[in-house]
């Protein structure tokens, strides 16, 4: 029977579980984000570097072809073509730039409209807690940012693992683990920054700019502290530096002696995430209580 003839009937069927309800939010938001022209352009651009890296991986695993091309087959070239932690650290560093740009474009539209339209009571009057709401919004960014970070990273690692010998994989499995953990930490950080900016700034462009400014301003501030106080710990305030240091540790790349260590950076990042979460939770209330 046609819907308009049937009339309203109360739903009395089975209800879905918490995971399905949680995933409903990203399912509705992803098509909207992927429909944005800038997002598509960025996604396409972000594929070039992984493709180049994939080409590099191929060449490095077929170095025996190089002498035939007349480039010589000495150890210097072989060392330069080595696929190691440094290679993946550079790969992650480049891809992280695209991730920030994507978060700056996609993030501001996630919470600000709900606040502007006073939609939060509608969410929180349903079986959805504040934590679940934040988790669902982060899931949106996780999906988008994974397309430029985790997925290409694992693709390049997987390609290297498949082309190289088993011995290489046994010796370098931690690189895969480092890529996953490093990018996960990075995605959580970038997502929280984007969501917090979205929660506090109504205008998308300004909120997007704020996401970028978060990294640049803190990087500048950390340099000022280092220069003025003649210290090294100021770098801890630079989220870009902190995350890169953690990545290097995860990928087994040696860090600079004087600079703050990976554990220090990791601790500061955790504190930063905690602070961002607290600020975000403070804003996300179903009703505003005026004291």
């Amino acid at each position: 029977m046609a819907v308009f003839k049937r009339g309203y009937q109360r739903y009395d069927g089975p209800l879905t579980g918490p995971v399905t309800r949680f995933l409903a939010v990203p399912r509705f938001v992803w098509p909207k984000i992927l429909g944005q022209r800038f997002v598509v352009i960025l996604l396409v651009l972000s594929l070039f570097w992984p493709l180049m890296c994939a080409g590099f991986v191929y060449v490095s695993n077929h170095a025996d072809l190089l002498p035939s091309l007349g480039s010589g087959g000495d150890d210097g070239i072989r060392k330069m073509l080595a696929i190691d932690g440094k290679f993946f650290a550079i790969f992650m560093n480049v891809q992280s730039t695209f991730a920030i740009l994507l978060a700056a474009i996609a993030g501001p539209g996630l919470i600000a409209p709900d606040l502007a339209n006073n939609a939060l009571p509608l969410y929180f009057a349903r079986p959805l807690s504040r934590w679940t709401y934040i988790g669902a919004r982060m899931m949106v960014l996780f999906g988008i940012l994974s397309l430029v970070t985790l997925i290409p990273g694992l693709f390049v690692f997987g390609m290297q693992a498949s082309l190289a010998s088993t011995a290489w994989l046994q010796a370098n499995w931690f690189l895969g683990q480092g890529i996953v953990l490093g990018f996960l930490l990075y995605i959580v950080m970038v997502s929280l920054i984007a969501l917090t900016c979205s929660a506090y700034v109504k205008w998308r462009v300004v909120a997007g700019a704020l996401v970028l400014a978060f990294f640049f301003v803190l990087a500048g501030a950390s340099q000022i502290i280092n220069q003025v106080l003649r210290v090294e710990w100021g770098s801890l305030l630079n989220p870009g530096y902190a995350i890169y240091t953690v990545w290097c540790a995860l990928l087994g790349v040696e860090a600079t002696d004087d600079a703050p260590g990976a554990w220090d950076c990791f601790t500061v990042l955790l504190l930063m995430l905690g602070a961002l979460l607290a600020v975000l939770l403070r804003k996300l209330r179903p009703v505003e209580v005026v004291s």
Partner: protein
């Protein structure tokens, strides 16, 4: 029969102010479609009570239960069983009505296919069928109210909490909204908690009424019982010096209060005939200019409860569940 809403010594403190000061009541009956009106002057605590029932505020003492589930500790269980229509504009503007309702349905636990089907069904039900593919942000105020109602009932909740549902509606739309609310309880067996300033609306659709003032329940009554009660309320208008009328009424066992100069409201016990009023008036040298039987309107109940009208003496027979 289990109550839909059971509140026991509920106290809610927002900041340093105590908004709800030890409220206790049992409202509605589970499995029976009933509408409960929540009334009170501005700042009485109506919205805070609703928000506490929705789990938005933590009680500082006491408890609130909906359908047997604690609103604070079992809020997810509560929220799967209720629908909420907020007072203010509360929509996702850049979505079509179908997508909006579908999302709300899925968040309430409906499977994706059922949510889509119910979204269409509910939008037709509230009269937005033709506009269901328009963005909600482009809707008129009346349409937005209907969309808010639709999102509250898409999952067929047992209790629907409506906060000022007729706000900003023209008379025709208001009537349609009231009809829908009546249908919700009569045809679909939903319980409705209706918070409104429009007493006429509440009187039209509600079976029970709770009146809040300064964070306390000042009156609770069963409107159905009130309507059916055989109270003999008489409205009397007299000219002359009526200072001794109250005492004269008490002599014959009746009770009366003066509403304004020369206007009295009187409760006559069943055994006393109206003729007695004529006799008293003659004795007190009063000339009756008007005498009419009447019942308390909700407006009078409300005004009495909030202290804007002198209280009527309570008859011995208890009406409602005070």
């Amino acid at each position: 029969m289990n109550p839909v809403i059971a509140v026991d010594n509920l106290r809610v403190r927002l900041g340093k102010r105590e908004i709800l000061k030890g409220i206790s009541c049992r409202l509605g009956a589970s499995g029976v479609g009933k509408a409960i009106g929540l009334l009170g002057p501005n700042g009485a605590g109506k919205s805070t009570l609703i928000q506490t029932l929705l789990g938005f505020h933590k009680p500082s003492a006491g408890s609130a239960q909906i359908l047997g589930f604690d609103c604070h500790h079992q809020s997810l269980d509560v929220k799967t069983r209720i629908g909420y229509m907020p007072e203010n504009d509360s929509l996702i503007a850049d979505m079509t009505a179908v997508a909006f309702l579908r999302l709300m349905g899925e968040l309430s636990g409906l499977p994706a296919a059922a949510a889509l089907e119910k979204a269409h069904e509910t939008l037709f039900h509230v009269g937005l069928g033709e506009a269901r593919y328009r963005n909600v942000g482009t809707y008129s105020l009346g349409m937005k109210q209907m969309a808010k109602l639709a999102q509250a009932i898409i999952h067929g909740p047992e209790l629907v909490i409506l906060d000022e549902p007729t706000n900003g509606l023209d008379p025709a739309a208001r009537q349609r909204m009231l009809v829908l609310i009546k249908e919700m309880k009569e045809q679909h067996g939903m319980n409705v908690l209706l918070c409104s300033h429009l007493l006429h609306d509440v009187e039209q659709v509600c079976d029970e009424v709770v009146i809040l003032k300064d964070g306390q329940i000042v009156h609770q009554c069963d409107l159905v019982a009130e309507r059916q009660a055989n109270k003999r309320f008489v409205q009397l208008q007299v000219s002359g010096d009526d200072r001794n009328l109250a005492a004269a009424l008490r002599e014959i066992g009746a009770e009366g209060v003066s509403e304004s100069a020369g206007t009295w409201r009187i409760v006559l016990p069943v055994e006393i005939e109206v003729n007695a009023l004529w006799r008293i008036s003659a004795r007190e040298n009063l000339r009756i200019t008007k005498l009419a039987y009447r019942r308390d309107t909700l407006e009078e109940i409300f005004l009495k409860a909030v202290g804007h009208l002198q209280p009527l003496p309570q008859p011995e027979v208890a009406h409602g569940r005070i």
